[in-house]
Amino acid sequence: MRKVYLDHIATTPLHPLVFEFMLPFLKEKFGNPQSLHTVGQEASEAVEEAREKVAQLVNAKAKEIFFTSSGSESNNFALKGLALARRNRGNQIILSEIEHQSILHSTKSLEKLGFSVKYVPVDKLGLVDPDDVKKSITKETVLVSIMLANSEVGTIEPVSEIAEICRENDLLLHTDAVAAVGNIPVDVTELGVDTLSLSGNQFYGPKGSAALFIRAGTRVLPFIDGGIQEGGRRAGTEHVAGIAGLGKAAEIARDKMEERMKKSIPLRNKLIQDLPELVEHVILTGHPQKRLPFHASFCVEFIEGEAMLLNLDMRGIAASSGSACTSRALKASHVLLAMGIDHALAQGSLVFSLIEETASEDIKYLLEVFPPIIERLRKMSPLYSKYLEEKKG
């Protein structure tokens, strides 16, 4: 059976060159970067080399890159570190309604410490209106956090416009760029953000290896207290192999970004165009143009996401869904609900996210396999038969 992996947003596979690059740091180059001796210094050089490569990927300075264990950690680090450092200046934080859980839950924790959160809405394509951010600012506002790209619907947010508003009002801006970095050009200077999260497992690097960009001169409280690693802001012996792998993945991403985008965009466009034509009552979610190049997301009416995923999996296709049944807390996607999609339709959420290896034959296979799966599940669906009866009159 053909195996088609279309779940980039969950994680990308490890690039073979990244794997090779990491191996020595799991074997002979096992040193602790903080050790004075040669073994330690080899590891230290690898970490600093990786810092340079990650910095280059987002046009930052090496000293502005802090390694972490995940995108979620980077988001926690940024929000808690920035908000608490500015606590005496005010207590309001502005977020979009479609932020990642690691942003939403970080600010939930901050609320318990006396902060308040203002959520700005998104339109039906998932876009934040910078004007809404502007209108939400009060004299208590200290921090704004708006994601660069949403992994569930692929929409890319106008972060640089929001940054301008933040600058005018002397506010800090964090952006969760985990879904974007390594996949589309990201330049921290052009964006004008103060902090930015990125994660290796979204661009063919290893899991457990991520980073936070902190603009030089920005006050951020330490996230892990301890030794002097990562400028004393994130203590703990470095995950050298992971960091080296992240650096290598960043280097490859920079070289191959254009090539990867050129390959994935036509395939994604085919999916976006053909799927709703092939099967009726399938709608695209997210922005049709301002979206991640590898990302195609839909809502399929009258049926539920998990049942679709299981059927696709049986045909060798790995995809994901924001349906309540696929989340362990059994909640419908807050992103889709924020975009005004109703609960029933949100249950039919389906995300196909392409990886580097995705070939046009894979998309062809998906387009072949998809309609009979949907037909089978709709035949079982009481909502579909109600629809058919109503249509008949």
Binding site: Q101, H105, L113, E304, C325, L330, K331, H343, M380, L383
Partner: protein, 193 residues
Amino acid sequence: MIYSEKVMEHFQNPRNVGKIKDADGIGEVGNPVCGDMMTFYIKVKDNRLADVKFQTFGCGAAIAVSSIVSEMAKGKTLEEVMKITNKNVAEELGGLPKNKLHCSNLGADALHKAIEDYRERQKNLKKANSENSKVKDKDKEKCYCPYCEGPLEGLEDFCTNCNIELEECPECGKPAKKDEEKCLHCGATKVRI
């Protein structure tokens, strides 16, 4: 795989899918807000379920539950069917993931509703067409709290049964009480600054 082999087998080859046009009773439970919705149609002959069919909107568990409960019930007397519990159904399937036990395991409820509908119709001695005579289902808007296992009133992050707000534990992902510092599932402290 999150499901047992038996669940997957029923999910792939569900028995008794469809509608019965001149059904003697119809039972509907769940709603799309919780994720699952089931409609059961029954034909009754000599106090036995001569035929059972179902339609289900929902996840793998919901489809498998519908399928197996239809098999369990077919040919049984109404009294026997009324004794089938959701727990029996889950056991018959070789178990279900804990968080699916209540949201998706509604098959027995739906079947009981269909029988109640049948009995109601018998009482009223009128066999109107099935669309108009559906049992008014006051439980229709109910989901189940995956935490305390009580019914929820449609809003999936508040349980009126145990009066708690629910949220996903950032540590283990399981639903936990919102205001509690520690997650009861994994013991993680939810506020860590």
